[in-house]
């Protein structure tokens, strides 16, 4: 029996692949198994190839691997697309009655289970349930009690009536019984045990959305774009319960300006988009920074440049977020490294934005955004959420921040660079916020001394933040190892599993996973202490490796992937091993 089980359902867009996969993932999660899902999808509504993959184990799983044990193939292409991952003994469930599947060839050494999905579904109440029949068949193959599927089916269909739920349950049983009867002589090598653990199953976009509500975000404006749309759909219908609102803006230019307006109104506000949207939002970025407006801008990266590969993985926007916009603009860039951290870093982003009164980029990437993973519900302990709104003045304290002529000073020159904030409605707090260089009261100025004082003040906030906040990286692997692997963003999961594989092969490495891009931890001593340093990231140019080299004044080695597919644990282990063996390319 393998420790983990890898399953997929694949077909054309429009075949209901996503909801079928989600039902199975939820059934596993509810049965106390860990789940990690991934999606192959294209930018189209119908046709093409799309798949939903599930990796499950009783232990934590945080990566995809190059192995597929059971595949539900609705199209011949589904088999072709997965030949590399299928292995001897892999089970392929298909409907041989389907015209396109009649002549399908099951690759040598694999087990083809021809199940009349459509006919069985029709018997149970409707052809539309054929995927559920397939799920039932998969349960039989994996020795996964079908009752676990029931609660997932109830969750999925309960709004549509008990009859539909019952029909689906029946369809699942029809699939299970068919395999049990027709393939009774077959021995399958799987046994998906269940546990009493409680898990929640969510993706990165949902974690960001939940984090935003927890952090007191009340206003969201956005424009739909893959793979950030799930943040918006998550918030819609939920944020209202907490007194908030979501606006679908006419474009990203508008979205960020609406969020800016709400933030000037005193709300915790956010927008989320992907690279092409960041391009447009960059227009307003300098205004946010120089008017010292707290705002969280979430960038769920996808493959670029331009329209690039819109449904594929990449971490190519780092430089854009660090340097985008004319002039010199202070900003923070946070990059959560896991799905649960998407929640916590969102909370942190709102606090940092308000404490330091500047724009904060919160960046995830496609793999993390559309991947679901199981966590213990305690991972998201709402009692642990802390809110720090920074230096907000009210009618009692505003008097300490007035100019000699009696005007409120929202850009007061202070030792730590942080000035007082007054929300509209605060008596005597009326002031101008502007993209023009300004004096302490926010009035336009081109005075040479005031210009320098304001620039220095804005930059001093960053220095203050460096001193006051904890920018440490996450560390795992062997702390005493000679070799150091550094990564950022969503690669952490694959790397954590790669470290175990390397460990089994006698290769010890120390890993630093960096969630803070700016400000970021000083890794000089870590790199100096290592024999070889490898920076792993999903882009071609090694944008984070460049930053590390800039910081530590030393060359590092690079492992890069930019074919649109995330790192898999086994592949990454091999890649790191060969890079370490080759030595530094100085």
């Amino acid at each position: 029996m393998a420790a983990d089980f890898n399953w997929a359902v694949g077909g054309e867009a429009g075949d209901g692949i996503d909801s079928t996969g989600k039902i199975f993932a939820q059934a596993l999660s509810r049965a106390g198994r860990h789940v990690f899902t991934s999606k192959d999808f294209a930018s189209r509504i119908r046709g093409g190839y799309t798949a939903y993959k599930v990796r499950t184990s009783v232990d934590k799983v945080q990566s995809v691997v190059d192995r597929l044990d059971v595949l539900i193939a609705l199209t011949p292409r589904t088999i072709e697309e997965n030949l590399d991952e299928l292995h001897e003994g892999s089970v392929i469930i298909y409907d041989g009655e389907r015209t396109t599947m009649q002549d399908v060839e099951i690759p040598e050494g694999m087990i083809g289970l021809d199940v009349p999905l459509k006919s069985l579904a029709e018997d149970a109440g409707g052809a539309i349930m054929r995927n559920v029949v397939a799920l039932g068949a998969a349960c039989e193959v994996a020795e996964f009690p079908i009752e676990n599927l029931d609660s997932a089916l109830e969750k999925r269909f309960k709004d549509k009536g008990q009859k539909l739920v019952d029909n689906n349950k029946e369809a699942a049983r029809a699939g299970r019984d068919y395999v049990a009867d027709e393939y009774a002589d077959r021995e399958f090598d799987y046994d998906l045990e269940t546990t009493d653990e409680d898990y929640v199953l969510l993706n990165g976009d949902e974690a960001i959305g939940m984090g935003a509500i927890a952090a007191g975000c009340r206003f969201y404006a956005g424009y739909p774009i893959t793979p950030a749309t799930d943040v918006m759909t998550y918030l819609t219908g939920r944020i209202e319960r907490y007194g908030g609102h979501v606006v679908q803006a006419e474009d990203e230019l508008s979205a960020i300006n609406m969020a800016l307006g709400a933030a000037r109104g005193g709300a915790r506000a956010m927008t989320a988009t992907s690279g092409p949207g960041i391009d447009l939002m960059t227009e307003t970025f300098g205004l946010i920074a120089t008017s010292e407006t707290p705002l969280v801008i979430c960038n769920v990266m996808r493959s670029g440049p331009s329209t690039g590969m819109p449904t594929k993985q990449e971490q190519g926007d780092l430089n854009q977020m660090l340097y985008g916009g004319h002039g010199e603009v202070p900003r923070f860039v946070l990059a959560p490294t896991t799905i649960d951290e998407c929640f916590w870093k969102t909370v942190e982003a709102f606090n940092l934005a308000e404490k330091y009164q500047l724009p904060v980029y919160l960046t995830a990437d496609l793999s993390m955004a559309v991947t679901e993973q199981t966590f213990s519900p305690d991972t998201f302990d709402m009692d642990e959420v802390e809110i720090d709104r920074g230096k907000v003045v009210d009618e009692a304290t505003i008097d300490d921040h007035m100019s000699e002529s009696g005007g409120f000073q929202p850009h007061e020159i202070t030792d730590d660079g942080i000035s007082p904030r007054a929300f509209p409605g605060t008596a005597d707090g009326a002031h101008m916020s502007t993209g023009l260089e300004h004096d302490e009261q926010g009035r336009r100025t081109e005075d040479t001394e005031m210009r320098v004082e304001q620039v220095d003040k804005r930059n001093r906030k960053v220095e203050t933040a460096r001193e006051r906040e904890d920018w440490s990286p996450r560390e795992f692997g062997d702390a005493d190892a000679d070799d150091l692997v550094i990564t950022w963003g969503s690669n952490e999961g694959a790397l954590a599993e790669a470290v175990e594989i390397l460990d089994d092969e006698g290769q010890n490495v120390r890993v630093l996973s960096v969630p803070y891009i700016f400000p970021r931890p000083d890794l000089s001593e870590d790199v100096a202490a290592a024999e070889t340093t490898v920076v792993v990231e999903c882009n071609e140019q090694g944008q984070f490796a460049d930053l590390v080299e800039h910081d530590v004044l030393e060359r590092v080695d690079r492992v890069n992937k930019y074919n649109g597919v995330r790192y898999k644990a086994d592949e990454l282990a091999a890649e790191i091993k060969s890079t370490l063996e080759a030595g530094v390319e100085a």
Binding site: Y199, V200, L201, E206, I213, A214, G216, R218, F219, A221, R238, R241, Y242, G243, H245, V247, A249, E250, D251, L253, S254, A255, N257, M258, A259, L260, G261, A262, A263, R264, G265, G266, A267, R268, A269, E283, T284, P377, F380, M382, D383, E386, I387, S405, G407, F423, P424, G425, T426, A427, D428, G429, A430, M432, S433, T434, G435, L436, R443, R444
Partner: protein
């Protein structure tokens, strides 16, 4: 809100750098008077300004304000109003800001019908960049970038607004101080998006659309016998009449339901709890 607010309380201590005689002085005075007259004060008012000569208005007025990016004033105003329904929001900009770079936002702001006032200081020219054609310049208006005129019809902002489902469309003239103030006041009091295009002559770069021209040609709808601004068809005729210049409230939908009522957005979003909201754990449970 105190009742002893005077319109001069809305004046900042910055002296306008507009050219002497600029229409924007009158436009601004009318806005300040209308704000004071409708019971607002600088601390509960938020003015959003665009870029250009008109964009400087936020600097010369005293209130909570944002002087933003060119063309994006309406989205900013929308955000302020949604977050703070208790705050009076007034957005001001020029014809370039509103009908050229910001034209897309104009259409959608009209559709949303957020309860705010939008004042466009329309001088039919780009002044701050020293005299180029604007989206409302006449077809044959010669400028440095259109030596033979733009040779394209000017944008008809009222028609754009009407077609986008506007609930309040008005035209005023900065030099007709009383009428201008009266019209702005009506826009402020309107439940929804109050749109006022203001003829605000540029005395330096536009020698066609002058004070004299508007004074001689403007027909006040208030004095037109039988004109009913709640009659959409009548408004359409006025708006599409290219032969005449009008001032007054052109169209007003008295059954207008503003955005915050349509969507139930009525809370002051600046107030949040010290930790996660009560019952936030429900969000976690949804993922079981």
């Amino acid at each position: 809100m105190s009742s002893d607010i005077r319109f001069t309380d809305f004046k900042s201590d910055k002296q306008p750098t507009w050219c002497p005689g600029c229409g924007d002085f009158g436009t601004m005075n009318g806005m300040m008077k209308a704000l004071a007259e409708t019971g607002n004060d600088p601390d509960n008012t938020f003015v959003v300004a665009g870029i250009g000569c008109s964009g400087k208005i936020g600097t010369y007025m005293h209130s909570y304000a944002l002087h933003g990016v060119h063309g994006r004033a309406l989205p900013v105003g929308t955000g302020v109003k949604m977050a703070r329904p208790d705050i009076e929001v007034m957005v001001a900009g020029g014809d370039g800001d509103g009908y050229s770079i910001g034209a897309g936002h104009f259409v959608h702001a009209v559709r949303r019908n957020v309860d705010m006032t939008y004042v466009v200081m329309d001088n039919r020219i780009y002044g701050l960049t020293k005299g180029q054609a604007s989206p409302t310049s006449r077809e044959d208006f010669e400028t440095s970038t259109s030596p033979e005129g733009p040779k394209q019809p000017p944008v008809n902002p009222h028609a754009l607004a009407l077609a986008s489902g506007a609930t309040f469309i008005a035209q005023s003239f900065s030099s007709d101080a009383l009428r201008h103030q009266e019209i702005i006041q009506e826009a402020i009091e309107h439940d929804g998006f109050g749109f006022v295009n203001v003829y605000s002559p540029c005395v330096t770069f536009n020698d066609v659309d002058t004070y004299d021209y508007f004074r001689d040609s403007l027909v006040d709808l208030k004095e037109e016998e039988g004109y009913d601004p709640t009659d959409r068809e009548a408004a359409k005729d006025v708006i599409l009449d290219n032969e005449k210049e009008h001032q007054g409230v052109i169209y007003k939908d008295e059954s207008s339901v503003p955005y915050h009522e349509q969507h139930g957005v009525d809370e002051d979003m600046s107030v949040i709890p010290d930790g996660a909201p009560e019952s936030a754990t429900d969000l976690v449970r949804e993922f079981y």
